[in-house]
């Protein structure tokens, strides 16, 4: 196997390892739009990072945190629906990011990679950072797992039982921000959400418990990465979109099988 393909595979697996367990919560908490908003606005973070030449991962994390805080601030208000608000933020930040990109000399060639990912150029150095992120996300998620599940079931019940709802929700949001930062140049800003929600949605009819669903989502993510990269290598299709297409095929197949069984 070629070295670059091995690295691409490892990077994809790393993303699947975190997008699986984070994705099931996205589904349960009906936050698909939220994931989109974080990843779209990350384009602005990248553009600002390039323009003022600071670390791009830091730029992405900062933009994600800014969006999360902005949303938290607006949560109390009732004059706009939260889906509307998320849509406005997602597309404004994306557009603003594209505008800022135009001020960065020679960055337009890179833009495609940020939007649709460039998994085949991942370096060993980047890989080690990605796997460090996997470890951090897993440890934090294990720590908040029970509380986050209880909050997802019912926020008030969680509050009465002494769970710090705001803190746990904030940590969960930060974990998604970390995923976005890690997955940006692997699958690209426009496709990150698909890796959060498609394997998780596929896993639902195959699972009886919450933990099981998270594990099945990881396995499905890994299969999609494997299949997508194979397709990309064989037919020279774009890597990240191929991964998403395979994930979607898995979703359609399981849905059909599930429906036929009933």
């Amino acid at each position: 196997m070629d070295d670059f393909l091995l690295r691409a595979l490892l990077a994809g697996i790393a993303v699947a390892l975190i997008s699986g367990p984070l994705g099931v919560f996205i589904l349960w908490r009906r936050m698909a739009y939220f994931g989109d908003t974080l990843s779209h606005s990350a384009v602005l973070g990248v553009a600002l990072g390039l323009l003022f030449s600071f670390n791009i991962s830091v730029g992405i994390l900062l933009s994600s945190v800014a969006v999360a805080i902005f949303l938290l601030f607006f949560q109390g208000q009732k004059t706009q629906g939260s889906d509307t608000l998320l849509g406005i933020i997602a597309h404004s930040a994306l557009s603003l990011g594209l505008v800022v990109f135009s001020f960065v000399k020679g960055a337009n060639a890179e833009l495609n990679a940020w939007l649709f990912g460039d998994i085949l150029t991942v370096t060993w150095n980047e890989l080690s950072i990605i796997f460090a992120a996997v470890v951090v996300v897993w440890i934090l998620l294990a720590l908040i797992w029970r509380s986050l599940l209880t909050i997802t079931i019912d926020e008030e019940l969680a509050k009465v039982e002494g769970i710090n709802v705001a803190l746990v929700s904030l940590i969960y949001t930060l974990l998604i921000a970390v995923l976005v930062a890690v997955a940006m140049n692997i699958v690209g800003a426009l496709l990150i959400t698909s890796l959060l929600i498609i394997p998780a949605a596929t896993a639902r009819p195959l699972s009886q418990t919450a933990k099981q669903m998270a594990v099945v989502a990881i396995v499905l993510g890994v299969i999609a990465v494997f299949g997508g990269l194979t397709a990309s290598f064989t037919w020279d299709t774009p890597a990240a979109p191929s991964i998403v297409v395979v994930a979607s095929l898995l979703f359609i197949i399981t849905q059909l099988v599930y429906r036929m069984k009933r």
Binding site: L149, I153, E161, T209, A210, M213
Partner: protein
Amino acid sequence: MQTSSRILATLKHVNLSLGRREILHDISLELSAGKVLTIIGPNGAGKSTLLRVLLGLQTVDSGEVTRLPSLRIGYVPQKIIINPLMPLTVRCFIALAGNKDINKVMLDAGIQHLENQAVQSISGGEFQRVLLARALMRQPQLLVLDEPAQGVDMMGQAALYEKIAQLKEQHGFGVLMVSHDLHVVMQKTDQVLCLNQHVCCSGLPEDVSQHPEYQRLFGDFPDSGLAVYTHHHDHQHDLHGNIVSENPTQSHDKECCKHG
């Protein structure tokens, strides 16, 4: 019974308005360990809001809310809707609440047979018992129930309140509940608080039911409702609705159900 009933929480002259509507007016009450306080009142009387104030989910405009520091509360909400996208068995749902012996808790609540069912698939009455079991998992010092008998049939209600009273004796926790089921609840409660934005009357159940304000609010209820629960049954049901004979050796004629 406990010799000293420890005070778990108190409200002093609590006032609350939401929007322009006054919800609670000058409410004072006290919750003690080993005692059952039942809040009754018409729709929109502020019963659930009062519960939320005590649970710390709702801040008040004025007055004093005090709770024992780090008071462990077992909460049985009126209803919660669990996203069907979350695969969750009854056992997992209950286990999430604490580290007590889950098998014993499920046995206590009479729901062992539901163990591996999805929480979203069980009936309303069953779910109430699952929520009760979940609250017990926390080894609560205070058990708070918001209309726990919803979706439970009449005989089931009596059994449920009996169960709560029995658990209270066993564990010595305080109980606060909101109820519509006046006559059923009267039997098993130490104190009744009749609420209609303000405290209409409160005290022992017998006293409250004689109080003119109570009679004005609930007086048009047919008295026959009370009779159902004061006559002696010739048999009892357990939580599953199975007939329980008080004398196990006595043969039981299943046709002799003489209700009402």
